[in-house]
Symmetry: C2
Subunit: 374 residues, 2 copies
């Protein structure tokens, strides 16, 4: 019988699991937040992922539960596990993706290199961290942030006064050193429940306004040491946190050649979209293989270079699909991926991948194709 | 707005259009012959494709109609066109894929190289052809044959007596010269309604018992002349017959280096499945782009070689999906495609693609992975 994979969340990551699920012969179904979401084609239920009975009813129709996002509450996840349902990644791992303070503490225990950080339950603790770190730091809300939201650079404790005011008793903000990085990288790792793990090439990510804009795979100017360090960090985290499925580790490369962990995601991630067309096994296929506990596929690149350019916001006339012909005509080798989402300023509505041997050429072509959506 | 593509027929070809439709942002829906078919995920209606009102109701919900097979009757197709519905390929082209006698006559008009052939309305005409061609020939029923069905090698007119007995008045059998071929090839071409066409590399196909067993892309030992001749034949047929969408031309290569047209298919075809993993633009994505009149994609191979091995029949215990883990473990670079069909002797239930630089290695790996389904 075909393995039935249930995905909680109907966004573009769930949508992009549909294609490899169909090819592998897995039965995919989606619990979507609303009608008409990106993963509509596979949506069998619509409901609130925070409601245990809604999630439980969905889970009872599948063999394994996985996720489009990390927001399903711990109590819901733990109730599913208690029901005997296979949940990948499980709550023990997901807690570290849900709470950045817990993640920093666990990475410290594992000895993983990361920025200096502290728990700031009140403004004086933030001010103390600022005083010790040259007067500037990054403050993050430990939960619910994404794409630059819940992240703020501050030079005075007063800059985070509103966040402190909203803290629940016992909660705190995360403060991090402002890392003098030269560029950002990302490391993808896949890990099965049985422990088998594979490592993708480390990639360079280019952010604009806190949102991923472009990815180049593998990271240019890479060398064996960089690849080894990034791969070791990825594997240590996947093992140490018990991640099952895809893990994305966002990294800073500093001017003194240190590699520090920025953020984690326990699911397919924007920094791995290049693999859909540029790797033998895409991160979406790999995630499905991992959560279904199937043997993992070859993560090798298919060619010298792959460039991914996000389509951010979409055209001002809101007719995303009307621009597809011009984008396809601009670059016959471009793979245009759209998410079935309405254009809106800054929103990720699609991306373009191009694979090739000449990096300058494909960067130009990918940007050119993506610009047809401006 | 997203272009809505409606596919008539719920088999594996419709199934394999789902992945690229999702990625491109096309809305795909399928009119399936029954519940639970290969393309179930996108099936919005179940009904008889020979019934005009069933097909018309489906067609009214989409922007363009295309096909999983060539069996929709001409009168149904022509009624859709009269309704103003975009049908690709259209009935004028499809008639030549539906009737092999009409195809032979049209290719003769176009001057395309093909085996000697004749129309045999009665046994004496078949006998006459046999007498002129060394006493052996291939007899075909002009309609409804596939995968070796409706094809018979005869050495006496009596060998086709049952087929002659069943002929309707005015109908005839097709008789063809038994071509002394050294191997079989296939040429894929995509053509848009606006006329743009692209040509895939010519591939070698290996048949067993009249069914495609393996494909090697590009055809080994190929040379520029072979590629040019095959490409020219493909383009001439696509233009001459007004094909829109994918065209597959099955070819014989003779011992005196002639290339002769064997059969045609106006849809994605088994001989093009390699392109899912081995070409920049797969035949399924290309078919969708062509029928939606979008700019065509790059048909170039991604690597030196791609091998496709069909999974025929499936395991004797009928548990196809139970064999997937062993197949994936056997070859981490294998792309295993299953069709959601029940195993049955001789039935095409999936295929394996492997892409690489060493042909011997990937042939071995692809066969090894596919053999896990025996």
């Amino acid at each position: 019988m075909a393995v039935r994979v249930g995905v909680i969340g109907g966004g573009q990551l769930a949508r992009m699991m549909i294609a490899p699920a169909v090819e592998l012969g897995l039965e995919i179904s989606v619990l979507a937040e609303a009608e008409g979401m990106s993963a509509q084609l596979a949506a069998t239920r619509v409901g609130d992922y925070r409601d245990l009975e809604t999630v439980r009813a969905f889970a009872n129709e599948v063999d394994v539960i996985t996720f489009d996002h990390e927001h399903v509450p711990q109590e819901v996840l733990r109730a599913l596990v208690a029901d005997g349902i296979a949940v990948h990644p499980g709550p023990d791992a997901l807690q570290f993706a849900q709470d950045k303070l817990a993640m920093r503490a666990r990475l410290a225990e594992l000895g993983i290199p990361q920025p200096d950080w502290a728990r700031a339950a009140e403004p004086s603790q933030l001010q103390e961290f600022l005083d010790e770190h040259g007067g500037r730091a990054v403050v993050k809300t430990p939960r619910g942030g994404y794409d630059g939201k819940g992240v703020r650079v501050v030079s005075d404790a007063a800059d985070a006064a509103d966040w402190f005011a909203r803290l629940e008793p016992g909660d705190a903000l995360l403060v991090e050193e402002l890392v003098p990085f030269v560029r950002e990288l990302a490391q993808q790792v896949a890990r099965r429940p049985s422990g088998q793990a594979v490592v993708y090439p480390v990639v360079e990510t280019v952010q604009r306004d806190g949102v991923c804009a472009e990815v180049i795979a593998p990271a240019p100017g890479g060398n064996e040491k960089l690849e080894e360090v990034a791969a070791r960090i990825g594997l240590q985290i996947a093992d140490g946190l018990g991640v099952t499925g895809m893990l994305a580790v966002e990294l800073f490369e500093t001017d003194d050649e240190r590699i520090l962990v920025n953020e984690l995601a326990m699911r397919p991630h924007n920094s791995g979209h290049w693999s859909q067309d540029g790797a033998v096994t895409s991160q979406f296929e790999q995630h499905l293989r991992a959560v279904a506990d199937l043997p993992l596929g070859d993560p090798s690149p298919r060619s010298s270079w792959t460039v991914m350019v996000n389509i951010l916001g979409g055209p001002s006339d809101a007719d995303l699909m009307g621009r597809v012909p011009a984008a396809l005509a601009a670059a016959p080798s471009a793979k245009v991926h759209t998410y079935g989402k309405d254009p809106r300023p800054g929103r990720k509505v699609g991306h373009v991948n191009i694979v090739g041997d000449d990096l300058d050429d494909i960067v130009y072509e990918a940007r050119s194709a993506a610009s047809r959506f401006d």
